[in-house]
């Protein structure tokens, strides 16, 4: 049990400092406050478990269950905050007061824990009270809520936030997994020597949250984490000097300690610099994205005025318009429409990059959507003497999608296909494969090289055909399409056998 006796206090200290520094970093942020409190309670919980091993009294058993209930409660609070999931004040009050209720009754005799025969590190033998089962139901519900919040957060977000959440999810799974194995599953087979590992396994959650921090800037405190790590190792090395068996070993350990201090200092300084540099880059990138977002909103108003008045002139609101003038006005109208489309795309990109793109899901008839697109594009195809065909299976189930966004994607694909095709035509096909629905847009046009295929869905790049024939889209349509399809848990890709051999675009969506 010796190793455990070291691991447990270290886990407690790490939890405490991590919480402390995250809290200090920005106490005005609720996320930091809740996370800080959560870490602090985790440290206390681990401490009470540790004390169970040392003092072996009922008081520490009660304390362990009391703090054990507050930990998932506060964890839920910061995870809700991280996933930007709002709950009403009333829901918060109910959840919190239940937590406090179980906290206090843990200390009342016979309610949760009736009596103990034997107490050991991280566990006890004895009888439970009548509220023991409600106590665990409450904890389990909190854990289910945590997992649910994280999964829905994972689905909702894209980009950095998604990665942060995925790290926290891994941490939670390992944490809950370890606790269930050492505290529930192994004891079923009579193996109880690992139960003390349940509280320090919160280190998993800590570690993966720390990864989310260091790699994806969750709380912006990676330098503090490095400091904690360097500090803890430093203390251990310092202790080694004093406990060394001989003077020679004391000198060797002292040398290692000094070297470690120097490298530790360099490491912290390096991390600090790196963060500064990255923060600057992020700040610029964010400012750029916000600039695009604000200017795009500003651009929309004059575009609306131009669109509105032109449409009214063309409708004849201000008197009859001659055929010659009508043609000119229609051209201005179309050019304005192109600008509007471009601004919409820019706004979508900035939303994606700010993690604000959300879907408005509803059960919709995909056939209807594709048919309306084909109908809309028929004129454009006819003008270029191209065929435009639509093929569909007999029965297509309604699927859960953001109707407008999916329509925009299909429209974009068909529009592109017509633009890049000079001879032959475009075929749109719906097909169902293994519970997934595919929309295929195949053309007999330009085709794509291998490099173009790879770059096609990246931000701000276009295939070489795009540069030649099509300059209005700025290559962002497919990037936006990819992000939207991914938000639908789907896939988008292109197949082409090479230049001059046409391309086939696939959008695959789950049938749910």
């Amino acid at each position: 049990m010796e190793i455990l006796e070291i691991v447990i206090p270290i886990a407690a200290i790490c939890n405490f400092f991590l919480g402390f520094f995250v809290f200090l970093k920005d106490p005005s942020k609720r996320l930091n406050r809740f996370f800080g409190i959560s870490c602090f309670l985790a440290a206390l919980w681990i401490f009470t478990n540790f004390m169970m091993g040392i003092q072996q009294t009922l008081f520490w058993v009660k304390s362990a269950s009391a703090f054990g209930v507050l930990l998932p409660l506060t964890a839920l609070l910061w995870i809700l905050e991280l996933c930007e999931k709002k709950i009403t004040k009333r829901q918060l009050e109910i959840i919190s007061s239940l937590g406090l209720f179980f906290f206090f009754i843990s200390y009342i005799d016979d309610l949760v824990i009736a009596n103990v025969r034997k107490v050991y590190l991280g566990g006890f033998e004895g009888e439970t009270g009548p509220l023991f089962i409600p106590f665990w139901i409450y904890i389990l519900s909190l854990l289910i809520l945590i997992v649910y919040t994280l999964i829905s957060g994972y689905r909702k977000f894209v980009g950095i936030k998604k990665l942060q959440i995925s790290y926290v999810i891994i941490g939670v799974i390992l944490y809950i997994g370890t606790v269930s194995i050492v505290s529930f599953i192994l004891p079923l087979f009579g193996i109880e020597k690992f139960t003390p590992l349940d509280s320090p396994s919160s280190l998993f959650l800590l570690f993966f949250t720390a990864l989310a921090i260091t790699r994806y800037h969750l709380f912006g405190i990676e330098v503090i984490l490095t400091e904690i790590l360097v500090g803890v190792i430093g203390i251990l090395l310092l202790v080694q000097i004093f406990v060394a068996p001989s003077t020679l070993w004391k000198i060797v350990n002292g040398g290692i300690f000094v070297l470690f201090c120097i490298f530790g200092y360099l490491l912290i300084r390096g991390v600090f610099r790196e963060i500064r540099r990255r923060e600057e880059v992020e700040r610029i990138s964010r400012a750029k994205t916000e600039f695009i977002s604000i200017t795009s909103h500003q651009l929309r108003t004059p575009l609306t005025v131009v669109k509105g008045y032109l449409s009214m002139i063309l409708e004849g609101v201000y008197g009859e318009v001659s055929e010659k003038l009508k043609k000119v006005l229609e051209n201005i109208y179309l050019a304005n429409e192109r600008l509007i489309k471009l601004v919409n795309s820019f706004l979508n990109v900035s939303k994606i990059e700010l993690g604000k793109l959300e879907l408005e899901l509803e059960r919709a008839d995909i056939v209807e959507i594709v048919e309306s697109v084909v109908k809309e594009m028929e004129i454009a195809a006819k003008e270029k003497n191209l065929y435009l065909k639509f093929e569909k299976p007999k029965e297509v189930p309604k699927i859960l999608i953001d109707k407008e966004k999916i329509r925009e994607i299909v429209l974009n694909l068909v529009d592109n296909a017509i633009k890049y095709t000079q001879e032959g035509g475009v075929e749109v096909k719906l097909q169902i494969l293994n519970n997934r629905l595919q929309i295929v847009v195949a053309d007999t046009g330009e085709g794509l090289t291998k490099e173009e295929k790879e770059k096609l869905f990246e931000s701000f790049s276009r295939g070489s055909a795009g540069q030649k024939y099509w300059v209005e889209g700025a290559g962002i349509g497919l990037y936006v399409a990819k992000k939207i399809v991914e938000l639908h848990q789907g896939k988008i890709w292109v197949e082409s056998e090479g230049k001059g051999k046409g391309s086939k675009f696939y959008v695959e969506l789950p049938i749910t």
């Binding site: 909103h297 609306t304 959300e358």
Partner: protein, 120 residues
């Protein structure tokens, strides 16, 4: 004659929509102020309100909250804005708007067609 209240702070846009709606045979009231909007809504009892969301002092969402408090429930509201923040949109729907149209994606004619659905 059906009455429409437009709450819109962009002068040119307000004028443009007013003109189109009047041509379509509606009686139109326009304002850029939420307070005034509520007054008109109470006094004139319009058949529909066209509401911009980004307004100078208070935004359209607070207008929706206020009319709810004032007990003006039966007048259909169509929000139209170039601001398409998902959170705002969601809130507007929660407060009962019939539609949330992005202005730049619709011509005044198309907006008239949309609102006619709520005037039957």
């Amino acid at each position: 004659m059906k009455k429409i209240l437009i709450i819109e702070d962009e002068v040119i846009l307000a004028e443009m929509y007013k003109e189109k709606l009047e041509k379509e045979g509606f009686e139109v009231f326009a304002t850029s102020e939420i307070g005034e909007g509520i007054e008109i809504a109470k006094k004139e009892k319009p058949d529909l309100i066209l509401l911009d969301i980004l307004l100078p002092r208070e935004n359209g969402v607070s207008f929706l909250e206020k009319i709810k408090k004032e007990g003006i429930k039966d007048i259909p509201v169509v929000a139209f804005s170039n601001y398409d923040d998902p959170g705002t949109k969601k809130r507007a729907f929660e407060l009962g708007v019939k539609e949330y149209l992005i202005k730049t994606n619709y011509t005044p004619g198309e907006i008239v067609e949309k609102i006619k659905n709520y005037l039957k």
